[in-house]
């Protein structure tokens, strides 16, 4: 009888990940998994460790402990194979500002060794979908933040990576592009093979889009699961994600106290 095929590793596995900057811990023993066909939302306040986690996934930050595996490849020890499988949209628009979007996409397609015809076809479709035609040959330095964000999204989708890593991807986007992005992401994972790791602090977006969410607070995962699972653990069955988030991070009282204090002044 033939041996059963080894199970395919998940798009992303984070195992007891710790990240420190100098003496300051940013992420503490974080474990999570992005499964095939899943959009995993990473929620947290400012400085909760979302971006640090994402940077370790894309190989920018070396973990102080634990490890990250992208389809079984460690971004630290097997960086090229891990990065080939990732499409990344950073939190801030960090691009080669002297290049035009066309030149930037040509560089990305060349580094990723994409076939010319395929990249042209996909590039054209994405540029048209995100309405970048007028800015296609303008230097990135002259573009608005929203347009830069669109260029980054197009670059991340150009090679149709099996894992999309998106750090606050809807920042700066206009309502049309936000809607487009949400629909693209929903369809992107529909084939049941790809995964998306998505960081945001917009509860509404996470609620609409994510199959599961993880709530980070001071570098620690306070809660994880689908909306249904998280509601089951909440005090009210109809709690919104915002209420669940504030409950898990124990910020509800803090917010009330802050508002009261502001009213007094």
């Amino acid at each position: 009888m033939p041996e059963p095929a080894a199970p395919r590793p998940p798009p992303l596995r984070v195992d007891r990940l710790s990240i420190t900057y100098g003496e300051r811990p940013a992420v503490r023993e974080l474990s999570l998994e992005v499964r095939p066909g899943e959009i995993y939302g990473l929620l947290g306040s400012n400085g909760a460790g979302k971006s640090s986690t994402i940077r370790s996934v894309v190989g920018l930050v070396r973990p102080a402990g634990g490890r990250v595996l992208v389809f079984g490849f460690d971004p630290v020890t097997d960086g090229l194979r891990a990065k080939e499988r990732i499409g990344y949209v950073p939190e801030t628009s960090l691009l080669y500002e002297s290049l035009t979007p066309r030149e930037f996409l040509e560089f990305v397609a060349s580094v990723r060794r994409l076939p010319a015809a395929l990249s042209s076809e996909r590039g054209h479709a994405l540029v048209t979908a995100f309405r970048l035609e007028e800015e296609y040959d303008q230097p990135i330095a002259s573009l608005s933040n929203g347009t830069r964000q669109k260029v980054l999204i197009v670059a991340a989708l150009l090679h149709q990576p099996p894992l999309l890593v998106l750090d606050e991807p809807l920042n700066h986007l206009d309502p049309r592009s936000v809607r487009l992005m949400k629909d693209v992401l929903a369809r992107y994972v529909a084939n049941g093979e790809r995964g998306v790791l998505f960081s945001t602090h917009t509860m509404e977006v996470a609620e609409q889009l994510c199959s599961r969410v993880g709530i980070l607070d001071h570098g620690v995962l306070r809660g994880e699961g689908s909306m249904t699972t998280l509601r089951e653990g909440a005090t009210r069955g109809d709690a919104t994600l915002e209420e669940i988030f504030l409950g898990l991070t124990q910020e509800e009282e803090g917010v009330r106290a802050a508002v009261a204090s502001l009213e007094r002044t």
């Binding site: 900057y21 090229l80 990344y88 950073p90 030149e103 060794r113 040959d137």
Partner: protein, 555 residues
Amino acid sequence: MGWRYAYRLSGTAFTELSLQAIYAFRQGNILPGGSPAELVPKARRRVIQSKAMVAGLLALLTLGASLALKDAAFLAPRLLSYPLAAPIFDAGVLTALLSLDVAFLWWTGLQILPSLLSSGVLPVLEPLPLDDTTLQRVAALVYFRLFDLPVLTILIVTPIAVGDALGFAAGLAILPGVFAAATFALALSLVTGRFFVRRVQGARGGGGSTVLRWTYLVIWVVPAFGMFGFVTLAPAFFSALAQLTNTAPSTGFNLLLLAFPFPLASLPSVAAGGTSALPLGPGGVVVLIAATVGYVLLAVGSAAWVGGAVRRVGLAPIGVATPAPALRFGLTVIGPIRSVLVKDLRIASRTPGYAFLILLPILDSLALGLLTYAPGSSTRGAESLALGAVTSSALLATFFGPAFFAIEVLAYSYGRTLPLSDRTLVLGKVALVLGIYLVSAGVVLGLVSLRISDPALFIGFVLAELPAVVAASLLELGLVLRRARRKGLPLVNLYAGTWTAILISIPGLIVASVPLVVFSSIQATSTSLALGLMAVAALVELAACTPVLFGRGTT
């Protein structure tokens, strides 16, 4: 709110500028290891070190000039094959010194202006409740702080050095010259920076536009090169000076008296020996006075202009071409190494600092190639000049090699998330250095092919040196990459990372020089043997340096 308040504010802004220049956080670099509290003091220290390096270099040049001035009567007949009176020789030396002062300060400005513009320190101040005068003063002071040590060095050391060599009056007489040199360099840096923002940075992509951008950049680089070229063209300058003084007073000499910085450089000779020290006719004295007054007024005007223009340049929006829908959407996909090279060339075409590094060796070759057509130049002289031009371009391309790695700072963190191996990255940069070397050599060959008797020797020389240029670049860029990865910080521009850039360039320059030394020491015995041994030396170096890159991991 007076200057004192503006100075205090400029200190805060300059600290931010130093931090961004060193760590490039705005370009997306992540926090390096070590204590975050140490970042600001470390950035401050590194910028001061870099400024001290530039200042030290200027001081050394000044002291060298001072030694030449002290021993003019002894040196001039030994250095030059024609008679040149000591006061004229002194004026020539000081012309060279002031030209180099302008060149170094201007070059420093080219390196750091992009940091000033991209750091965003000036726009951050705008929404604060500060009046226009204070904002203008703060901007001007931040700009001056970029140059303070080097400028103060030339303003203080030059009069002392000249005074020591030629007397107190001569020391005082050089003051207008150094003031004008410093002011012009600061103004030129700003003018070229403004030009960059208005015409180059926002230019559209595409073939025609690329050609236009490079044309702009060549026009823009030529004056800066003109100053650098003074070193290359110094023998021709002194020869021309001798010819002009032999026929002086003449219209030619009067025209020379109008050309910056000669009139200001002549003042110490006049101060030390009176107007009879120079071959000035009655008209010449008037021309000298008029030129001096004119340049001093221009320098004062430039200083006033710089005071107001820094803020305008810092806040100026990028000049963008009229938006137009793209006509084609096809992407040109090439190999990863070539893509690094093409990306660097595209970035350089909109970044004058990098364009300057690429164009300098090429323009240097062009100047030396044209020099072979100078009247009286023999075929043998043309051959020597041609080989000298190749030598110079090999060394210049090698010296600037590490600076090309600084392009990666522009999107450092994003670039590191792409599946781009260190090898590919370094080989792309090596290809750029090699390209500069070959284009420079091609320019010389194109110019001198009719002037030299044996083009095969020239081509053999270029090819024999080629492995050494590759070896030197591999060594330098491999070392830079290791350092950048180990320290977790991108190698920044030559200004902010001067120590790194210079220290890493030294082994590279040695590697590039060894085959050249082998050739020149054996050439007299047998040219073909010299070429053969030169090639062997270069190949051995290539074999030795390749493991620096290929002996390590792929990521």
